[in-house]
Structure formats: C-alpha cells, structure tokens
Amino acid sequence: MAATLKPGQGPLDYGNRWWLKLLFGFIFFMLYVPIVTLVAFSFNSDKRGIVWRGFTIDNYAKAWKNDALIEALTNSIVIAIIATIIATVIGAMVAIMLWRFRFPFKGAYEGFMALPIVIPEICMGVALLLFFNESGMMSAVVNTPWPINLSNIIIAHVAFCFPFVAVVVRSRLVGFNRQLEEASKDLGASEWQTFWKVLVPFMMPGLVAGALLAFTLSLDDFVITFFTSGPETVTFPVKVYSLVRRGVSPEINAASTVLIVITIVATVLAMKLQAPEKSGKG
C-alpha cells in the first residue's frame, strides 16, 4: 500500500547529503567568524584585545569620549546627510528623464551614467584627486570654516552616489502604469498636479530606498574620501584606518560595530521598500 518512499528521498530532492551539511558549516564559519570576532572583542575587557577577559561596554564609552573619533563621526554624518539629499534630488531627476524622454544616444547615456557604479574606487579616487588638484578646488577649500571645508568630499560623494539613486528610482519607474498618468489628465488634472499627486507618490519607496543606499555608501566610503579630503579633514572610516595602522584596539572594534549596525539597519529598510509591491500596477 502507498507512500513507502522515505522522506528526504522524494522524487524531487537531491538529498540532504552529509557533504552538503559540511559545506554549509564551512561557509557559515568563513563568513561569520571574522565579524563575530570583531563584535565579540568590542565587548572584551582586555586592553590589548588579544585574549577574552570578560564582558564590558567600557570600549564604547571610551570610543564615545575620544574627541577625534567623535569629530570624525560628526564629519561623516554631516557629509552623508548633505550628499544624500543632493544625490537623491539629482538621481531622481536623471531617472525621470531617462524614463520619460527620448533623446539621441539615450541608451549610451544610460550606460555611461552607471559608470561610477562599476569603476574601481581607487581609480575614481585618483580621478577626483587629479580633477580637484587641476581645478584648484583642493587648495580653495583648505582653510575655509567647517562645514565648507567638506565641500570637496560632498561633491565627490554626490558624484559616486547619485547613479545608485538613479538606478533604484529608474527600476521603480519601470513598474509605473502610464495609464495612471493619462487617467489623471483625463480627470482634469494639469501636468504639475499629475506629477505631484500621481508620479511622486508612486516613486516614493524608490526615493527612500535610494536615499538610504546613498547614505550608507557615503557613510562607509574610505578610498574616495581619503583621496579628496584635505590633510585637516577626517571622516570616520579614514580615522578607523589611521588608528588600525597603529594596531587593532577594542575601541576601534566598538566604533566598527556601531558603523556595521547603522549600515545594516539602513540597508534592511532600503530593501524592504524596494521589494516588489502588488499595488504597483494600479
């Protein structure tokens, strides 16, 4: 009588073989051990950070009291906020233009726009350094008051962040039903009414997701910032980098853990907003 196939050997399983489990375990190990070590050691009470000597949150307190670190963090956040706002506005406009208009070489432009996404950071950094040097912008901002002295970094961040915003918003717009716009006009709305009341609400999840993406990219960037910042300006990743060169300390682990948490929260939010919605098709 019936049903004598054992579970796990059903017709459609490749089987839960032992070597698959082993592989799984290995991957887990490879991936998480470094991160877990980092987070764990940020709570380690050993000063040198080599051996586990008990749980403490002193490292966080110490990091918080480290004026240089806090200054760097403030710089990073100010840069990220300003760069995000500018990148989001420009990115959204570019996305709308690419989606809406036909113009010569549109395909080529769409490809070129994505360049900063793929170009090696180190090359982008060299290019921006060269550009700011040649144009004299590097020396121009060097003795200006805060936050004007961050201008170069902000411009550089906008330049590499806005294509990400544009790509996210553009892909959201692909799902837009053009008949919604026609319906709005047909019901008596003007073009600007249609834009603000129909198109912008539709784009909103893409805008927020793009902004969050730009924010984390800007906050985390080291290479480009390093090349475009003057000797006096230090951001958080640059500070961590310069500290690590003198040796890993529990303080750095604490600071890194905070940065990781901020990034993950922002990314999870962005992904939730970008998830395909059933309401998208109207």
Binding site: N177, Q179, L180, E182, A183, S184, K185, D186, L187, G188, A189, S190, Q193, K197, V198, P201, F202, E277, K278, S279, G280, K281, G282
Partner: protein, 362 residues
C-alpha cells in the same frame, strides 16, 4: 444626424514611422447611444477612442463633441471621461480619494465634492468600501471604482476601453448587465471599445466594425449579424459558412449562380450582379436530416459527417460533401434525449432556406 453628440469627420492618425492606425474615419454618435467600436486587435479602435478623449492627436480630420471642435482642447478640458483597460485606479489613494480626485484637482468646493463622491459610490454599490485601498479589492471592484471616478465628473460622453477583458468569465455577464443598467440610469452617451463580438452584440445599440484603421460597417447588432456588408464582417461576427459561387445571370434583385458543391442556385442579391461571389450562411441556420427533405424551395446537399463535437446545449457538426465542401452546422439539443442525432461517418442531408443565404462580393 443633427443631434450628434460626437461627430468624427474624416479623422486619420498616422504615427511617426508611417503606420496608419486610423484611416479617414467618419462616425456620428447620437446623444444617449450605447455605441461600440468593434474589431480585431490592431484595427485602430483604441487609437480612435483615445483621439476622442484627447490622449492622442489626430493627424487629419475633425472631432466635434457637443458641437464644438476639439482640436485645440487638451484631455483635461474635454467633456469626456475614460475607463481604462487596466482601470488605472490610483494605487496610493483610497477608493473615496480615487473617486473624488477629478473634482479636487479642478477646484470643486469640498462640500459638493463630498456629496457627488458619495452619490457616485452609491451608484456603483461601493459605499461600504470607501476607505479601502485598491490593492485590497477584486478586479470587478476596481473597475467599479474606475467607473465611479469617471461618472462623478458628469461627462457628456463616457469612453470605455475593453471594460470586460480583464474580468473572468463569471463576472463578465454580471458586469455586462450592470453597464447596460448604468447607461440607462445616468442617460449619457457610452462609447465602448471591444474585440469581443459577444460583448458588442449584447450591449450596444449600434456597432462600428473596424479593420485596418477603416470602418467596415456601422449598424445595429442584428443588422450586422444577419446582413453583414462584407466577407470580413460576416467572418468576424460569429461563425459563418462561406461558399464560393459564380454568377451566371442577374435580373433585378435576383441572381442565378453556380455554387461549389451545391449546383445552380437562384438567390436574392442587393449588391452583386456578376463575377465570383461568396454565399454566406450561418451554422445555426443549417438543418441536418437523414433523408432528402421533401420541400422544393430548399437548398439541399448530401454529405458525410466528418466531426461531431458535443457541447451540451449545442452540438457542432461538420459535414463534407463529395465535392469537398465542408459545412459547419450548429444543432441546438432541444430535447434531452436527442443530441445531434448523427454520428461520425454517417451519410446525411443538409438543407436550408434560400432566404437565410446572403450573397457577398468577393
């Protein structure tokens, strides 16, 4: 027609690239009509509807609505509203906000907006769902929202683009009856675009059949079905047997012709007087019998049953004559034990009245 509400005069639409979507079309649509534009996909019917709404601009000709030339009027100023094929209900607004949208953007006072919105929701029986978002609604309900949203603007003409195509078969019948009822209640002109002959025949008071951008025939449903003006219309509206024939003689409205597989026939013809013609006859007009029918004034032919498809209420029989003529016959299974009463391979006689045949030019 002096009281035409929509008057389309020699309208053409040529898209960049040279595609002619609509080719010199003229139609007058009277106040209060339920008018259908019917044709296969790509025949230009939707483009014509969009030109009436102002969403496309004609490249030639004139569209008048309520006696005014619409050439310079953008879609948001025209006395027309549209129900889109995808419904195009705004997904980020509640049902109520969707329906009131057209009043809010044109600055109608808020108490009037409220009253008219409530009325419109009442009319489509959605008052209880006013606070819902569209993604919590079924396709049929979304369509009602689209209808209410258009009707609340009190247009002179309501345009409907394939309103039933996105609904499943069960809902369609109900919505068909509801649209007919609604049109009678509100008393405004409906123009509907459809590719489905059943929809057009059962709802519209008049139908324009279009093909390749041009109007083939404008007539009432029964005129279209029983007196199609061309082979295209006969074939597109329902099933039809088309039999090639050669005109031998023509006297007044009578012609005498030699039909393939049927021999010499005397028929009435309004249009054709010579050459090759098609004799069109609908499958349900053909009768099937085991013996040669006695009556003298019938067209009759012997053949062999090639296929019998049972569909419950009807059976579709295909009979082949010895000259290779295939005739489709629909038999209604009127009594419970009958069925078509024939089997594959059986020899039968097919006959019909000459009055049920129509002579169409090739």
């Amino acid at each position: 027609m002096s009281e035409a509400i929509v008057s389309i005069k020699n309208v053409s639409k040529r898209f960049p690239g040279g595609v002619v979507a609509v080719d010199n079309v003229s139609i007058d649509i009277a106040q209060n009509e339920f008018f259908a534009l019917l044709g296969p996909s790509g025949c230009g019917k939707t483009t014509l509807l969009r030109m009436i709404s102002g969403l496309e601009t004609p490249t030639g000709g004139q569209i008048m609505i309520g006696g005014e030339d619409m050439a310079l009027t953008p879609p948001n100023k025209r006395p027309t509203n549209m129900v889109f094929q995808s419904y195009a209900v705004f997904p980020h607004m509640t049902v109520e906000d969707n329906v009131s949208y057209g009043l809010r953007v044109t600055g109608v006072p808020s108490d009037e907006t409220k009253r008219r919105t409530a009325e419109a929701l009442e009319m489509v029986k959605l008052s209880h769902l006013a606070a819902r978002k569209p993604d919590q609604m079924s396709g049929g309900q979304r369509q009602r929202v689209a209808l209410a949203r258009a009707l609340v603007k009190r247009p002179k003409v309501l345009l409907l683009d394939e309103p039933l195509s996105a609904l499943d078969a069960k809902l369609r019948d109900g919505m068909r009856m509801e649209l007919t009822r609604l049109q009678e209640t509100v008393g405004i002109t409906f123009i509907i675009v459809t590719h489905d002959q059943d929809e057009a025949l059962s709802m519209a008071s008049r139908i324009a059949v279009m093909d390749k951008g041009a109007v083939q025939q404008i007539a009432t449903p029964s005129e279209l079905y029983e007196h199609p003006a061309s082979r295209f219309v006969a074939d597109f509206i329902g099933k039809v047997n088309l039999i090639d024939a050669k005109v031998l003689r023509s006297v007044g409205k009578h012609i005498s012709c030699e039909a393939k597989g049927l021999g010499k026939l005397d028929l009435e013809s309004t249009g054709t007087t010579g050459g090759t013609v098609s004799i069109a006859v609908r499958p349900e007009k053909l009768k099937i019998g085991k013996a040669e029918p006695k009556a003298a004034n019938l067209i009759k032919v012997e053949g062999k049953v090639r296929d019998v498809a049972y569909y419950g209420d009807t059976s579709h029989v295909v009979v082949s004559t010895k000259d290779g003529l295939d005739l489709s016959i629909n038999v209604q299974n009127d009594s419970r034990e009958g069925g078509a009463g024939v089997e594959r391979g059986q020899k039968v006689w097919v006959h019909w009245s000459p009055a049920d045949s129509l002579v169409l030019a090739e």
